[in-house]
Amino acid sequence: MSADPTKQTAKPMTALLNADTELPPIDVSAIPKQLLPVLDIEKSTTVTRVKVDVLAILKIVKHSREFYPTSVNGQLLGLEVDGVLEVTNAFAVPTQPGSEEDMTNYQVEMIQCLREVNVDSSSVGWYQSTRLGDFMQQPLLDVQASYQASPNNPSVVLIHDTAKSEQSGNLSLRAFRLSPVYLELAKSGKFTTKELAGKGLTYGNVLEELPIEIESSSLADVLLRELQWPASCEQELLESLQRPSSFNAKLRAKKLADRSAVADDTEAATDALDDGLSGLLPTRPTAYLARPMCTNALDMGQGLTGGGAGSLLRQMEAIGELIDDHIHDANQWMYWKRGEAKELNRRQQYVQRKALGNAARVARGENAEPEPTEKELDRMFKVLPEPSRLDALLNTGNLNLLTKGVTQSRGPALAKMFMAQGLHEASA
């Protein structure tokens, strides 16, 4: 064993490290045709689709799951090609509070390290995890606005909902960009009723949703196939069950085979499991059977009792809170409106009084007093500026998202309930 730190022999290594400073001249003919649009930095494109690599999705899912229910975020890396944003990798950003500088340093360092191993090093946005879908918050919009500050920046924000994914058994991942209308208003900072109505900004068009596609490399495809059809699975079982098509039916079958063959050994081994290691590890072999290994799309729990009712309760609570906020906002606005009307009324009365007084003076043959100018009037009767409507707008947006989510989840829930009924009738 010899570890000699002073001996720096490798040329490729130094070449790699110096890659920043000495870029070789680019041979345009060597660039694949589909990448040519990337080089044209002056063109203006709008992103129409988002393609996310399986790896990036898994990283996002892992990060959100481990910190659930805290909301976490991270960076997306990839490339924009001809209106399609390809997200190929992602990394987590620490949740501990740190200074702005710290965070930036972290991201810059991470991107540099990843570039050394040939990962796409350009940031194409960020991701955030959410719970039950009320992600329309001021900070999110501000961060996204800073991403989209420069024109033609293709950045998106991916929203992953862990709770919804687990409940419905269907991946909940959405991609958003801020609409041009919102950006325009945010620049001026005027979120008044007049401006909102004039520009046509409503809760529905603050964010623009982009369709997401999942992409996987050929090697990843092979891996996915193998995960679905483990070769080590007991051959007999394979033949007799022929083609269990559900994602993990094979694995379950394998677990069972293992269990019946070496039941005692497995038990002993799993007994050694440390509970603190992870809540995810089943502590007893039978847990494999009690826990559905295929996705939860058919989970009856949501249809009848237990977790389903709990999630419904949580959703209703969240909706209730939002409605309260909404009423509060409305009251505040009404209060302001009444104040404004009162002020305007007093101002009108004053002008009328002045006019009447002047008319009387003229009738008496005296000189009329000069009419008060608009400026003077403004100074005398101060109308408070309208409170920003943005909060109310976002609140409405969240309420809309939540209620929409609930409505959408009720369909499958009803279907599951009637399925449970059918099953019950058949077995009774």
Partner: protein, 301 residues
């Protein structure tokens, strides 16, 4: 120290007692792997440099207190360079990446390393020695993914090093297989399911489906499975095919999972929940209608 040079020692130098001794005492017995690790390795392999045959990287994860159970949760790539008689690891990069990962996820420690390729690299023992010291006082795990697919599959092997010989030499190392299992938390399963649909579409990509479509697919799958099982059971009953005990036990376990609820209780539960669901749906729709009206009114103002 930016690079670490590990030389295959000559006979003479190996006779000299080398300073580094393997300190790992506790060996692992079971290993759980998260799917994200495998996908990261494949991605790293696809992004390797020209003329590079294999890639290696560091595995991160958590251990049980006694170090017998390991859960590999994450990994990152490490730059390395191989020649005829030398292998070089970019230690600086490794340390930097670990420090960065540590900040985002404090619980994850170094548990071992991965490499791609159909066989063990000839420097595997040396690298294993390095990682054993990184992972001390526990032993390091070595994950091999056969990206050449020499057996027609991605043979994923989980190994752990064990010192051989009287004197502890880092270059003497026996790799013993370690039983491993893949972990599928619910959230990851949904992602994998969505990705599996991608491979089935055959186009290399696919759009996400709505909950209802997903449910429809699941029901169709369930239906298909039930039909296959019915056919199989009937065939066994009529004596047309041989009974299989494993399948029989499996089916029995499955049937035992179906809960038996009293009919009256069931209908009561069903009715109340149905009413709840319909009520919630009605209220949420009402709220949305209100929002819409408010929105339209605002435009008139």
């Amino acid at each position: 120290m930016s690079t670490l040079n590990l030389n295959l020692p000559t006979l003479a130098s190996s006779l000299v007692k080398s300073g580094a001794t393997t300190t790992a005492t506790t060996t692992a017995q079971q290993c759980y792997i998260h799917p994200v690790v495998l996908f990261s390795i494949l991605d790293h392999f696809l992004r390797r440099n020209d003329n590079q045959e294999r890639v290696i990287g560091t595995l991160l994860g958590v251990r049980s207190d006694d170090g017998r159970v390991i859960e590999i949760r994450n990994c990152f790539s490490v730059l390395h360079f191989e020649t005829e008689d030398e292998v070089e690891l970019d230690i600086k990069h490794h340390r930097a990446m670990f420090a960065l990962h540590k900040r985002a996820s404090a619980r994850e420690q170094i548990v071992g390393w991965y490499a791609t390729g159909s066989s063990l690299s000839k420097y595997a023992a040396l690298i294993q020695d390095f990682y054993s010291r990184e992972a001390a006082p526990f032993s390091a795990v070595h994950l091999v993914v056969d990206t050449d697919m020499s057996d027609g599959q991605l043979g994923i092997k989980c190994l752990q090093g064990s010192p051989v010989g009287a004197g502890a030499h880092p270059e003497n190392c026996l790799f013993l297989p370690l039983p491993y299992e893949l972990q599928y938390p619910d959230a990851e399963l949904t992602a994998l399911q969505a990705a599996a649909d991608t491979t089935e579409s055959g186009e290399g990509f696919s759009a996400l489906v709505s909950d209802m479509e997903q449910l429809e697919k699941s029901i169709a799958e369930l239906h298909g499975m039930l039909e296959r099982v019915t056919t199989y059971v009937q065939n066994v009953c009529t004596g047309r095919s041989k009974a299989n005990n494993v399948v029989g036990k499996y089916l029995m376990d499955m049937l035992a999972v179906v809960p038996t609820i009293d009919t009256e209780q069931f209908s009561r539960l069903f009715q109340t929940h149905l009413q709840d669901v319909l009520m919630v749906a009605y209220l949420t729709n009402l709220t949305r209608a209100q929002l819409n009206i408010a929105d339209r009114l605002q435009r008139i103002v």
